[in-house]
Symmetry: C2
Subunit: 432 residues, 2 copies
């Protein structure tokens, strides 16, 4: 046990830490027989629940995959539309909707798709998810600014449906955006507890979209970085810190209506009950971070690494207290700590719903892991929420020394398709 210099140590902090890490201090227990059970180790809570047999309803007031309990794996893909045919796009979106509903319910993309149809034709399901349960698969669709107008051209006669909030995100300080993995006309976010199920879903959509869309980029993620329900313990990002402690939760209906769901009158009618998806691939400078001191890491984040409690406090869910100071009268939560700058107190009350994932894409050829956080957030209005927040963070946040955003995109996600509604499909209200 060590205490932090220049910091008051409340009694409960000490206890909390011992409780968390005491067990892990025992020398490595050696197990003599294969298949032995759990050991006292890092884990103090129960293992994360992995719900493989559960299917998430496809239909509802809102799309699934937004306030749905965050699954453990993600396959995120954006598509470029490669045709100017409005009819082809409409046809594909209708096909996608049918496939998406089937796959989220644990079915093949098409009935008997992998093996039961005409053997002289390509199978209509690629088969790698045969035998796998639904795994809480959700598929969430969104449309980028370029779906409405690309290079000044209104390809599909829907330019007037574009909302004023659906903009190309501006260039922020401290980012190095790679155009080839940014943007996209259409996004599909696949989340599931089994990566094979998420990969299968995107692949089958891409397959049926051949000739109409092409994958622009795709990203796999694991180990969600936010809790969206109170039942989920807060996961850790690749900086080793609990991430998403102060996130909005799925039962905070009033806040979700205020910060996530597009309201009646906010913009075009087709988006009411929908939301905006912000995606940012944030590369972490893992190796530099790993060589900084614990003090520096906690200063940069503004929370304690073990418990996740705000600096100077003892419980993860304690409210941030920006007035606490150390003996030298320095704020315990640094003036440029990430949690201070990202807090609603600093941002005039702005909140967002985060639903990101960790990623590791091998190494970068220079001996470093190509790893970080694939940030995903859902907001009611990017102009008044994400953009000012990111402007504030990207100028001052101490974390900037250790991160570089490498991709950026914004999409408008329509509301859900209601139970029993057989006339609408993904995006159909855009073409009314």
């Amino acid at each position: 046990m060590s205490s932090h210099p220049n910091e008051p140590v409340p009694a409960r902090q000490g206890l909390s830490r011992r409780k968390l890490f005491g067990a892990a201090g025992v020398g490595a227990a050696v197990v003599g027989a294969a298949g032995a059970g759990a050991l006292a180790g890092r884990a103090t809570a129960a293992a994360p629940a992995v719900h493989l047999e559960t299917a998430v309803p496809f239909r509802g007031e809102h799309q699934a995959g937004i306030v749905t309990e965050a699954q453990d794996r993600m396959h995120f893909a954006t598509f470029d539309v490669t045709t100017n045919s409005r009819d082809d796009v409409i046809k594909m979106l209708a096909d996608w909707t049918e496939m998406a509903e089937r796959m989220t319910q644990g079915q093949e993309a098409f009935k008997n798709g992998a093996t039961g149809q005409n053997p002289y034709a390509p199978p209509t399901d690629t088969g790698e998810a045969l035998g796998l349960p639904p795994s809480q698969l959700t598929l969430t669709i969104g449309f980028g600014p370029s779906f409405f107008v690309k290079d000044g051209v209104d390809r599909f006669g829907i330019a007037d449906k574009k909302s004023a909030q659906l903009v190309d995100l501006p260039k922020f300080p401290n980012e190095k955006i790679e155009p080839a993995r940014s943007g996209g006309d259409i996004v599909v976010q696949a989340c599931a507890n089994d990566p094979q199920v998420a990969v299968h879903a995107i692949r089958n959509l891409a397959r049926i979209g051949f000739g109409t869309v092409a994958v622009r980029y795709s990203q796999l993620g694991f180990g969600r970085t936010s809790s969206t329900t109170r039942e989920q313990t807060t996961p850790r990002n690749l900086f080793g810190f609990k991430d998403g402690t102060a996130n909005l939760r799925s039962d905070e209906t009033d806040k979700l209506n205020r910060f996530v769901w597009v309201g009646d009158g906010d913009g075009p009618a087709w988006l009411t009950g929908g939301t905006y998806l912000v995606a940012r691939r944030i590369r972490m400078r893992i190796e530099q971070w790993d060589r900084t001191t614990l003090l520096e890491q906690e200063r940069v984040i503004g929370r304690q690494k073990g418990s996740g409690a705000p600096m100077g406090q003892s419980d993860e869910f304690d409210e941030l207290n920006f007035t606490l100071k150390d003996k030298k009268d320095k704020p315990l939560i640094d003036e440029v700590a990430h949690v201070r700058l990202a807090s609603k107190e600093n941002l005039g009350g702005i909140e967002i719903l985060r639903r990101g994932y960790n990623f590791t894409d091998g190494s970068d050829g220079f001996g470093h892991l190509d790893a970080g956080l694939f940030f995903i957030a859902f907001v009611r209005d990017p102009l008044t929420q994400f953009i000012p927040m990111q402007n504030a963070l990207s100028r001052k946040d101490a974390l900037n020394e250790y991160i570089t955003p490498t991709s950026s995109a914004l999409f408008a996600c329509p509301p859900g398709i209601r139970e029993g509604d057989t006339s609408t499909f993904w995006g159909s209200t855009l073409f009314d």
Copy 2:
């Protein structure tokens, strides 16, 4: 239900297929309430077991991660040694062994590593696995040819310990090897049921190795492509076929001794009880495959896509029968079908232990998924097993039209460290 033209349809095949896919043929069931239970869908077997709480013993006659029940996720990394100091390499391997034993048992890399040590120093555990159980993590080490002699130089005084079988794999037809993700002086294969645990392990080894080694390349995998125990159902690769049906199993002791474990007298004493690891990143031409007919897919593989049964037979585990013919006197298992060419009958009795993983590394910038199979095999002698097998396959295999190996490497894996042995560590017998 369709039957195959030009093929006899045994009674049981029809039944078997109906049984497998009948349930999936029902229209998409719609669930009205969040959190509803399992649906009749693709899954007919129980969900794959995901053992998060289980720790795999680190010590034993052989290293773990070879015949160990295959976990669902992998982080594979090779390292280049960046020093000529024999002492530094020895020190790092000793540290790695201690860390590996701790981490596989669900502990931090070092005692109280993430938060409990000196706050003025970098944490000795990076923290992202705090709170996560062991998840059946195994860490398996191997040494490449360049560890012994690099550019003609015996950097560490161990050139005489290199076995004759530890060669640079030759160039095979139909491969497009990228040097930057091939080879490596040292390999560590991390397998676990949680990718965050596998990524954490490799990262902490890389961190502590700073100044001694640098990551050469790393690869994440999911959805193992082989069963190594009879309890595991055969998983599917990204071609949608069951993969690994005929794999060696962990209870086939005689065969493992014959085909996997290096025997006394096979080579240098330090390798007795060890094995060779062959790694090949095999890019699949997913989109081309998806546009071929079911007939062509089954002709190329030589098995039925649904059941996994050999062509002309009914059960997955039926022995391959190469003499069966259709009405036109053509062999039901094509002359260049993958299973025929890879069979022990075609290879003079050669068998190998496969333990590969599917991968999807986003997209390739041309609208295609960068996906495939990260092939891993363990063999007693690459010269008489893998190399002749690959020569036979790479010249004729019908699958070659749909795959391209893009990386290649061979490593010698020492035996395990015995229970209670405090004097040896990973590779220590190389330096005796």
